[in-house]
Symmetry: C2
Subunit: 307 residues, 2 copies
């Protein structure tokens, strides 16, 4: 199977959007940006042996490489529009490609983002890079740099599940609900959209809440006080781990892909946007971690790829 | 050095363009598309051990990964605007990064394309993926599918130099001018721009002239007759190889990044656009290769990554 047959069979789908003038198959794709809009561009790579083990379910890799990008789109408050894929593989295995493309296109369909082109190459291990471009009303993108002292720090959903799920896989004691949170992360695109004009700053939690909050705060030139007792935990996490482990996963576990954001104004209908207030932005440029009235020393900076 | 320091030190440059509202450093970049324009998106990956040998000059890798993308932009007739980079590395070597970023940003400066964001990850070998987005007047992109019987087949510049340069490197008899053509391929962006409204179809020569012409013809549902005696050859290629080798490099050698295009109308000032007519588009969907009046059997299909 050559690269054209590979693309035609697994990735070229008929569905298009009116803004996609030319999709897969030429030297480039042609996209018509809408009037009065800006675009948001993000790119993320998953490497076999680094981000997932050899032999990992290809459908989950395909879904995941789209979801991690959409999470960045969500953290900007944008709507995803189109994406490109660069896929390096050791060989062409039709079963692997069938599964990978199924997962990738499932995420694309779920979030209404069109695959418009790509590049396939050979490499010693699987490397999947997706770039997503989204749209946002001009001037409305939510940056990391807008947090102000006095703002409340919020997170969406629950923290620590994905890391606990991965831990369960690695120790041979997987908990289904937690593993699912790792395998098929939910990009918070609709929640991100509802934060436009509400959040003063936002970031997605990919490397761990503590580390990613730190990036937001540094970009804003501020600090925060966080209360460990406020961290939102799932029933599955609470039922399967001791309290210290729950908090460690919630503070430092990566791969949750929830949104961490700051806001001074009232939030939209909490029935639509599931969020928890976990602390307050301060003028002191550091993170103070409390458990009720007590300050808890905490130094983890989250996962850094070249730390 | 963590990934933030890596990005700040080697890739974050102050220069911006008015359409780049937010560049490197947030969850995504924010771009303002212009009125009445379409955008062209391309993506290409270079893998160590596949596209370049281990220990290859990092500056040339950086330049090359931009140039190969710009070549696709050129083949669409578009103007490059912005790009993202996904870079996987075994470790952070400051000398390597200094050199790679120098080459990458040299190409960016030369072609006025801004690096707006990226992703750095760890991998067993170097994998560099660049996506470039360019602009084109709405409806004017040059597709592969527009060639008509009777059109003339043209190529820009000279063919076979890059493959001959690589051959020289591999056999220990490098010829400087030919090696340079491999190491720092020229993306024909300005020539591509001058072909808008002139070329009926275009493709860039990355996998070899014969194979890439075949892709253009298949996309157009036509064929062509090509005259080997017309292929444009450089003085360096002619001086260092036998005639048969020259023609083999010119027909099937990859990495030239010239443009192959078809046109029925007169071409712009040949002083600006250096092109050579090499054949004629036919209604018979195959490539007939001639040497003067004689038909020469030829079956090479160019380099396919998963052939």
């Amino acid at each position: 199977m050559d690269e054209f047959e590979l693309i035609r069979r697994y990735f070229d789908r008929a569905e298009q959007r009116p803004d996609i003038a030319l999709g897969i198959g030429d030297d480039g794709a042609v996209i018509t940006p809408g009037p009065g809009l800006q675009q948001v561009a993000v790119i993320d790579t998953l490497v076999e042996g680094v981000h997932f083990p050899e032999g990992y379910n290809p459908a989950d890799i395909g879904y995941r490489v789209v979801a991690v990008n959409l999470s960045d789109i969500a953290a900007m408050g944008a709507r995803p529009s189109w994406m490109t894929l660069a896929l390096s593989l050791p060989q062409t295995d039709p079963d692997w490609l069938e599964s990978f493309s199924e997962g990738l296109l499932a995420a694309a369909t779920e979030f209404d983002v069109v695959l418009v082109g790509g590049d396939t190459t050979r490499a010693p291990q699987v490397v999947a890079t997706v770039q997503v471009v989204g749209e946002i009303e001009a001037g409305r993108a939510i940056r990391r740099s807008g947090a102000m002292p006095g703002d409340t720090v919020y997170v969406t959903g629950t923290l620590g599940d994905a890391a606990a799920g991965l831990h369960g896989l690695q120790t041979g004691q997987p908990v289904r609900q937690l593993v699912d949170r790792f395998a098929r992360p939910s990009a918070r695109v609709s929640w991100g959209r509802s934060l436009v004009g509400v959040a003063s700053a936002a970031i997605d939690v990919s490397d761990g809440f503590y580390g990613d909050l730190g990036k937001l705060l540094r970009a804003s030139g501020v600090g925060a006080e966080i209360d460990l007792a406020c961290l939102p935990l799932s029933e599955s996490l609470a039922a399967n781990f001791a309290v210290d482990e729950q908090r460690r996963f919630a503070m430092s576990g990566g791969d949750d892909y929830e949104l961490c954001f700051t806001a001074s104004a009232a939030l939209p209908d909490p029935g639509i946007l599931r969020v928890t207030a976990v602390g307050t932005v301060t003028g002191n440029p550091e993170i103070v971690v409390r458990l009720g009235d007590e300050v808890v020393p905490y130094t983890d900076r989250g996962y850094l790829h070249f730390g």
